[in-house]
């Protein structure tokens, strides 16, 4: 489905990612695990076109997405849920969700999508008239996920959904991602904590200093004790 080949990207003159190659299959949940500051966020920002690639190629089902503007990458079905949620804080929960359905294909089905999101997040339905800035951290994370699901996403890219949340809330968030996975959507998730993604990931990559150092089935990598010691947060 998604194929990233020899991707290089960075900020200004400093290169962050070095020849990163990965793929996500249809319906697969792939986790890129790595410590903070090693390029996980940069990877997702590069795939969704927020920063320019200096080299490499991004494809979705054989269609070249490299160097396309972000809105066309979203239109193709790659939807990125950023770190820190970036809610539209002066808009209501409902308005935030509707903006998530901005692309014409999603907009025409916004009512059905809204119903599905409210089923998945009953809390958002209760708060739909509230301004996004009045939500708690966990509720905002739910809103960010819901907003992503309003789009006509085929692949959801999620950036460290546990960031800044209390342990109990973290559990809820990952349960929700499980639900999304069960709906059949392909997921590319970046995280720094192996424990969070155990049972969720089908396959995993390890990212260190901008280089993918290992790849394998999640079950296999999670049996590696040295690795677990390094990534148990």
């Amino acid at each position: 489905m998604l194929t990233v080949a020899n991707l290089e990207a960075g900020y200004g003159g400093s290169q962050v990612l070095h020849s990163v190659s990965l793929h996500v299959g249809a319906g697969e949940t792939v986790v890129v695990l790595g410590p903070n500051g090693h390029g996980k966020t940069t990877l997702l920002r590069a795939i969704s076109g927020l920063i320019r690639l200096t080299a490499g190629r991004v494809e979705l089902d054989g269609v070249d997405l490299t160097h396309l503007p972000t809105e066309q990458i979203v239109a193709a079905g790659v939807v990125h849920i950023p770190q820190g949620d970036l809610p539209f804080s002066e808009m209501s929960v409902l308005e935030n969700l509707l903006v998530g359905a901005y692309r014409p294909a999603a907009w025409s089905e916004r009512r059905e999508r809204l119903e599905r999101v409210f089923q998945l997040f009953p809390l958002l339905a209760e708060r739909k008239r509230q301004l996004a800035r009045s939500l708690s951290g966990g509720e905002r994370r739910m809103l960010a996920l819901g907003r992503g699901l309003m789009s006509s996403a085929r692949l959801l890219m999620i950036d460290e959904p546990s960031l800044g949340l209390a342990p109990l809330v973290i559990e809820q968030v990952y349960e929700t991602i499980h639900d999304i996975k069960r709906s059949g959507l392909a997921i590319l998730l970046v995280d720094e904590n192996a424990e969070h993604v155990a049972g969720l990931a089908d396959r995993m990559y390890l990212l260190e200093a901008g280089v993918l150092v290992r790849e394998g089935p999640a079950a296999e990598l999670l049996r590696d004790e040295a690795l677990l010691a390094a990534y148990l947060g």
Binding site: L50, T70, V79, H80, L86, P87, V99, G100, Y102, W107
Partner: protein, 297 residues
């Protein structure tokens, strides 16, 4: 109709205040939309306003009926806005020094538009005929039907804008961009075309303000400057980039101006408003309704 003197003055102040506020609202909403989404001060806004009045004047001379001239004037101003955006602003969006570049570009656009008007129509004052002639008096206050048309049109447009920004797909996109550009991109909102929508809409509203006021006041090619200045005061007062705040601020400033004129003296209206703005900026630097950098549209 005879009414007590105190009531008479109050009515006078209220009528001209609401009239002023309506026009300021139409002007300021465009400025605030552009500020909120593009983070740019559009110095061509006054030129777009006066262009609306002159386009109406021009097509009227060609024999078009008065109501139709309104539409043509709004369209003409919107078209100029489109050209300014596509030719001058879009190319410098990625420019690291775009703050000052856009100030100079829009200032240049306003000079070009004003000079073109001067060449085409000359420098003498002009006035548009009213949509509806006549009026009535209550006490000594003359309420013209045209004044009521201006108020009505402004209120309808401001309400429509508000609905557009809160319900429609493109309106929501404009607010999303002004609140968080990166997140808006990730929702699949194309930034550059949305900026064009913003500019065309606000240029059209400026043109509408011009044609509405052109039948009440005389105008000259440089006549857009004062309305733009007042619109800037309103925009700052309302908290830059906040639409609801701007609409409230427009009527508050309009009423303040007319109350100062009626109760203190006409020459006190402008200095009074600027003094008030200075004091308010000291006490509430983000504007009356501004909650800081986070609060947008």
């Amino acid at each position: 109709m005879a009414i007590p003197d105190a009531l008479d003055r109050l009515l006078q102040a209220l009528y001209s205040g609401v009239l002023n506020g309506s026009v300021y609202g139409l002007m300021a909403i465009g400025l605030t939309l552009i500020w909120g989404s593009l983070r740019m001060l559009n110095l061509a806004h006054g030129a777009l306003y006066i262009a609306g009045a002159y386009v109406a004047y021009g097509v009227l001379a060609l024999g078009l009926p008065v109501p139709l001239t309104f539409g043509v004037a709004v369209g003409g101003a919107a078209l100029i806005g489109l050209v300014v955006q596509v030719v001058l602003i879009t190319p410098i969006l990625e420019n690291p020094g775009r703050d000052s570049a856009s100030l100079i570009a829009t200032l240049a656009a306003s000079i070009v538009v004003q000079s073109a008007i001067l060449l085409l129509f000359g420098g003498q004052t002009k006035q548009l005929p009213p949509l509806i002639d006549g009026g009535f008096t209550i006490g000594t206050t003359l309420i013209s039907y045209q004044g009521l048309v201006v108020i009505g049109a402004a209120v309808v447009c401001l309400l429509l804008m508000s609905v557009f920004l809160h319900v429609s797909r493109r309106g929501l996109a404009i607010r999303a961009i002004s609140q968080n550009m990166d997140a808006a991109k990730l929702m699949g909102i194309p930034i550059v075309p949305t900026f064009v929508v913003v500019m065309v809409t606000s240029a059209g509203l400026a043109g509408l303000a011009g044609v509405l006021l052109g039948s009440i006041l005389f105008f000259t090619p440089s006549g857009g400057f004062t309305p733009m200045l007042m619109a800037m005061v309103v925009t700052i007062f309302g908290g830059l980039g906040s639409v609801t705040g701007t609409i409230w601020a427009a009527y508050i400033i309009g009423l303040m101006e007319s109350f100062l004129a009626v109760y203190v003296g006409a020459s006190w209206a402008l200095p009074g408003i600027f003094l008030f703005m200075i004091v308010m900026l000291v006490i509430r630097p983000n504007g009356l309704f501004g909650l800081g950098e986070a609060r947008r549209l």
